[in-house]
Amino acid sequence: MAEHGGHTPGAAATTHGAHPNYWLIGIVLSVLTVLELAVTSSYVIELLNLSELVTNVALIAFALAKAAFVVGYYMHLKFDSRVYTTMFATGILFALLLASTFMLLF
């Protein structure tokens, strides 16, 4: 019963109105992956004289950027109800709590 909530006028307007260019996002994600490979290639590391710390921070940053694009556009959280965002963010919050404490402890 009642699985047609997505068709209420408000939700329909937001989901149909803003339509990201999926192909563009696909390209951005690929470029970010190439960048990830670049900062770990010995050629680039020598060329730019990257320290291990810089490389790792860059890798995490690229991963976070990719994740933001996947969650925001492919999983269309950016255009969907805030409730979904809150729900998922709560999970991420507890996951980060676990991760940060464990990495401190071990």
């Binding site: 019963m1 994600l29 992956t33 979904y84 999970g91 991760a99």
Partner: protein, 194 residues
């Protein structure tokens, strides 16, 4: 039925299935984070045997690209469904399935090669954490492929369209989530030197 839906249906105006599925994904996030954390805290603690240097980065990078592109195919599937484009729907769904299956195939090939080169589940802590983390991810991809195949059969029967795309949407959420997890596994397991 519609009158009933408006009266007792959804307080927040959201679809039950999507709300429930986002909750499930929040739970899965904690699950994968636990596995990733176990990988990280055990990295560099192996007392013997091979480690990260065995991993084939170019191959996995290509596989990463395939999985990311399968996510693109998945959103194009849903987009086609919303427009009522049945041909596009079926085409992009099939592409998603093929790319997902390709990813799993490459992972199996990678496992076989690594085992041949001496890295097994029991070789050392790296082997244990590597196979457990990527194995659970691979199992999720495999389950996703099966799910999408079931969805494809329904798509062939013409069950999806502008009025009924929520099942595709939910399957898509699962698929993107699995992709999302890989976005973190790839740098953490393959690229960062621990």
């Amino acid at each position: 039925m519609t009158a009933h839906v408006e009266k007792h249906g959804t307080t927040l105006g959201l679809d039950h299935r999507k709300l429930g599925f986002w909750t499930f994904l929040a739970s899965e996030a904690v699950f994968f984070m636990s596995l990733i954390v176990v990988f990280i805290i055990y990295s560099g603690r192996s007392t013997e045997g091979p480690g990260q240097e065995l991993l084939n980065i170019p191959l996995t990078a290509f596989n990463t690209f395939v999985l990311l592109t399968s996510s693109l195919a998945m959103v194009l599937t849903i987009d086609a469904a919303r427009r009522g484009n049945q041909r596009g729907l079926k085409f992009w769904l099939l592409m998603t399935i093929l790319m997902g299956a390709f990813f799993v195939g490459v992972q199996i090939y990678e496992y076989r090669k690594l085992i041949h080169e001496g890295l097994t589940l029991t070789s050392n802590l790296f082997g244990m954490t590597f196979y457990t983390l990527t194995g659970f991810h691979g199992a999720h991809v495999t389950f996703g492929v099966l799910w999408l195949i079931a969805t494809y059969i329904k798509a062939l029967q013409g069950k999806f369209g502008p009025d009924n795309y929520i099942p595709l949407d939910v399957a898509g959420l699962y698929w993107h989530f699995v992709d999302l997890v890989w976005v973190f596994i790839f740098p953490i397991v393959y690229l960062i030197r621990w």
